[in-house]
């Protein structure tokens, strides 16, 4: 029964995505909608991303400083560890998990609300390909903007690490910067962007899917919104592992 349900949803999700890849009725309308979504997803999420990232960087640095306290490992390693763990894991994964909660639930509620108020039916009657018009601009916007947010997150996390270790005097400025410059592997940055793009696609498409097929009233809309976050989060973690396997 559970497997039947999963396969049914997977099939419907793929079918929806297939219908959303279509020639726009009018390019300018899709462009305008994509820009609006970039603003909502990107600019609207900057503050929460900055806040979370600075704390992640601070906590990571403080924890490693404590772990390395009395060992023979040079203290500049703190900068190196904060940089790598941020780029490889923290920035893309934590940012996208948070965005699944903020953006994902918002998208599911927005599209689900449109379904319930018959806005989607109204557009269909007008001849609009609603799968394309309502979903594709959101996916494109997210895939463009979320990697930018992740890059900002990585940068801010590293600054957070600096604030929590250099400012109190745990390590010196020179040591932290030396750590940041040591053993740099450019491939990790590539991996960060791959993760960010894949997670952005997942969290947007899954959330739109949950909203698009919502039925019933406000309770079902709430459930769709919750499911959007839960399923997106699980898929982000699964794909995090798969990408790590493939690119490491």
């Amino acid at each position: 029964m559970v497997i039947d349900n999963m396969l049914y949803n997977l099939g419907r999700y793929v079918t929806l995505l297939r219908s959303s890849v279509a020639r726009p009725e009018k390019f300018s309308m899709y462009y305008k909608e994509t820009m609006r979504q970039m603003d909502a997803i990107g600019v609207g999420s900057v503050f929460i991303v900055l806040l979370i990232s600075v704390f992640i960087g601070m906590v990571t640095a403080v924890q490693f400083a404590d772990q390395l306290g009395d060992s023979f490992v040079p203290s500049y390693y703190i900068g190196y560890i904060v940089r790598d763990i941020t780029i490889i894991e923290m920035a893309p994964t934590i940012t996208c998990l948070v965005l699944a909660g903020k953006v994902g639930s918002n998208l599911a509620a927005e599209i689900g609300g449109m379904r319930q108020k018959e806005h989607i039916d109204a557009m269909e009657i007008m001849g609009v390909n609603t799968a394309a018009y309502l979903i594709m601009p959101k996916i494109i916007a997210a895939v463009v903007v979320i990697p930018m947010l992740v890059a900002i997150s990585a940068f801010v996390s590293i600054i957070g690490g600096y604030i929590s270790t250099v400012v109190p005097g745990t390590i010196s400025h020179t040591e932290y910067v030396l750590g940041l410059r040591s053993f740099f592997v450019p491939r990790y940055v590539f991996m960060m962007f791959v993760k960010a793009a894949v997670f952005a696609f997942l969290l947007t498409s899954v959330s739109c899917y949950m909203g698009y097929y919502v039925k019933g009233g406000s309770i079902e809309l709430g459930q769709a919104s919750t499911n959007a976050v839960v399923v997106s989060d699980v898929l982000i973690l699964v794909f995090d592992f798969l990408i790590a396997l493939l690119l490491t």
Partner: protein, 258 residues
């Protein structure tokens, strides 16, 4: 003209429509009536292609709607306007933007031409000067009229109205009926109205289709409603003792006049 041929529609085990064969005529208000759960909304949504029939066909001027691919169905739909029960106006857009949306999506008109057409449509429904208001800032009756204006903006060949009088007072209901009627006659469009408002039936019912439990049980026009002895129709239309008395009086007067 729109024609249905032996339409059935089931949701799981529940068969909602049971072999509906009928016609909806050009240039006339065609009414689908029936009690709640009779299958009116399902039939209306089937006619516009929002639902697919379990079996049977829907013809738009001899073109079988469900034999077309999605792209061709969308082209047919561009000749369709629909007024929804809840209006389905986009909350985040102003009245003017709501009416302009189909033109933005499908036409290459200039901003000036679009603005002119929006004004024309608002004038058509007696709503001049409300372009910049949001749907939440106008009354229920005005929202219905904005919905009609949006449905008419691309000059449709077919107009569908799902319970246009729901939630309106009797006077506003009559105004909405008259408006839909005028637009139908003036533009020679095929209008299909789903209603259980008796004023509408007796006022604008040029072609009335009565559904009961998914069956088409009667079809005729408003002049036949008083005369017919069809029990199922009388039970539905003249449901209260007051309305039954009115019918008897009307019939007596008519016979005395004859």
């Amino acid at each position: 003209m729109i024609r249905t041929q032996d339409i059935t529609k089931s949701f799981g085990e529940n068969e909602v429509l049971k072999g509906i064969t009928t016609e909806f005529y050009d240039g006339k208000p065609n009414l689908i009536i029936g009690s709640s759960g009779a299958g009116k909304t399902v039939l209306l949504k089937l006619l516009v292609g929002l639902f697919k029939p379990t079996s049977g066909k829907v013809f738009y001027d001899d073109v079988d709607l469900f034999s077309l691919d999605d792209e061709a169905i969308r082209e047919v739909r561009m000749k369709v306007g629909m007024l929804f029960q809840g209006n389905a106006l986009f909350d985040s857009m102003t009245v003017g933007e709501n009416i302009r949306f189909p033109m933005d999506m499908f036409t290459k008109k200039t901003a000036g031409e679009k603005a002119k057409r929006v004004d024309e449509c608002l004038e058509m429904v007696n709503m001049e000067g409300v372009n910049d208001r949001f749907p939440s800032e106008v009354s229920g009756g005005m929202q219905k009229r904005v919905g009609i204006a949006r449905a008419m903006v691309l000059e449709p060949k077919y107009l569908f109205c799902d319970e246009p009088n729901s939630g309106l007072d009797p006077k506003t209901s009559i105004l909405i009926d008259e408006l839909i009627c005028d637009l139908t006659y003036k533009n020679n469009i095929t209008t299909v109205i789903n209603t259980h408002d008796m004023n509408s039936v007796m006022g604008i019912g040029d072609n009335i289709v009565l559904l009961k439990d998914g069956h088409l049980v009667w079809q005729g026009d408003k002049s036949q409603v008083l005369e017919t002895d069809k029990e199922v129709l009388q039970d539905f239309i003249f449901a209260s003792p007051f309305l039954r008395r009115l019918r008897e009086d009307a019939l007596k007067q008519r016979h005395a006049h004859d």
